[in-house]
Amino acid sequence: MRVAEVAEKTEAAVSPEGAAAGSPAIQTVDLTKRFSKTIALAGLTMTVPRGEVFGFLGPNGAGKTTAVKLLLGLLSPTSGQGSLLGRPLGDLEARRRIGYLPELFRYQGWLSAAEVVALHCELAPIPRSSWKDEIRSVLETVGLADRAGDRVTTFSKGMQQRLGLGAALVGEPELVFLDEPTSALDPVGRHDVREIIRGLASRGTAVFLNSHLLSEVEQVCDRVAVVDHGRVIASGTMDELLSGKSVRIRATGLNQADKNKLASYGHIDDEGDQLTFASLDVERVPEIVATIVSMGGRVYEVAPRHQTLEDRFLQLLEDEEK
């Protein structure tokens, strides 16, 4: 996300003239949603270019689903504005070119998987002559080709989520919203979803991935925004976000007071004998080891490493709490 994007660009994108193919997939300026006294989303300003896989990260209740629903026109913003594919939020024309897998996915149990996809072909709408190929292709992509004729009511939750993903892919959309797309899937299913997202990106489809599964985001997203309590607290490319390095030290013989003193070296993720120092300059490693030893601690392992998205995410949330 490019926070503090230029507002004038959004003005142009929201206008009909901005509907050109060059307009961003998503653009918002100060998009805010308030439910009575609760602010669900506070001034979201962002641009997602076409073809980008964008991760929207945050803990439960952070405002991720609210953001997606605002973008899709299912909720109306309290203030601010935005556009999808150069069209104003809620515009029918834009909805012809997007796909959506909701977090609360549920499909018509009395229909077969093929009929559900056919329904989405009809509503998308795509020409009836291509439905057959589209249904086969979509169900193959999500691994449900052999269950095409089975009623959805006989499907497991994971299979229903796969079906929902398939429905979102109907009509080769230019932008796909995936809200927690692997919440009901097993590891194989999660791997498949990552492959599908990579496939979408390779054909130029923008993906807005809402998730709290950090490994998933880390593996597929070009850029990420972290949201908490309705506000974006960090954003950037994965490299920008994970520029810091951390050092993990395994040491015994340290009491809580010693660990508190060590906090002067930076944020510590304390897991008993294992201490992870976030954003610690590697040059300071000899110094910190000497300090631990002077405190009576015994050092068994020192491992500098790149910061993971999980480290950075937890650090951001902790900083936010302060």
Binding site: G73, S76, P102, F105
Partner: protein, 287 residues
Amino acid sequence: MPPVFVIARLTIQEASRRRLLLALLILTLLVVGFSAWGFNKITTMTRDDGTPIPPDQVAFITSQLLIVVTFMFSGVLALSAAVVAGPLISGEVESGLLLSILARPVRRSEIVIGKWLGLGALVALYAAGAGGAELAAVDWATGYLPPHPDQLLVYVGLEGLILLSLGLLLSTRLSGITAGVIALVSWLVGWIAGVVGDIGTGLQNEALRNVGLISHLVLPSDGLWRGAVYAMEPDTFIAAMRALGPAASANPFAATDPPPLTFLLWVVVWFVLVLSLSVASFRRREI
């Protein structure tokens, strides 16, 4: 196919696949068969001297019994329409079923109108099919047919559509069970208010009569029921009722006059108003 008809088709498909239609068909056949047997018993009734009762008495008893049976039938239809319409929108919003559909280029008005059309077609079909079967059974059993069977079916069907529309309106905002219960209680209160209005007419009490008038405007189901009753009454019965004067009006199972044209026009306006309100309400609903 335009989205509004896709949604209508989906609504009918759901009722069919969930075996609602099959259940209604079986129940209707049972009720029609049982009532045919019951009506047939009227023709075997005898006087004290053992002679069969004359045909005009058979026709009179049949007409009165048919009114009671039709009242139950219209009640079941209205009740079913209210119960099915209650969760029509809210149930799908709460379950998430509508989320992926609303992300498609479908207007919310198309969802509301499509569902109304789908369920409305089923209500009309059921009213015509089941009502027609019942009338045919009565005709077979007793040789009696009400004077205006076509009007009777239209009035009963419209009564079902009124409850369907009310349930749908409430469903845009309230949970399925709440919407269904409110629609049902409204139907019952509307009927009682109609009786109060009749009593007001009988007693020539303006205030009580206005209760009936206002209730017919707010919820026209009872006014339509009176139309159905009128369509079932033989001319001789209507003439006898009229001869009794205003006192004859205090009877919810009798009608001395057909519904006025202005009332029927109001019913059309009522449908337009309620459907417009449903669309406006659903448009403003945050999902």
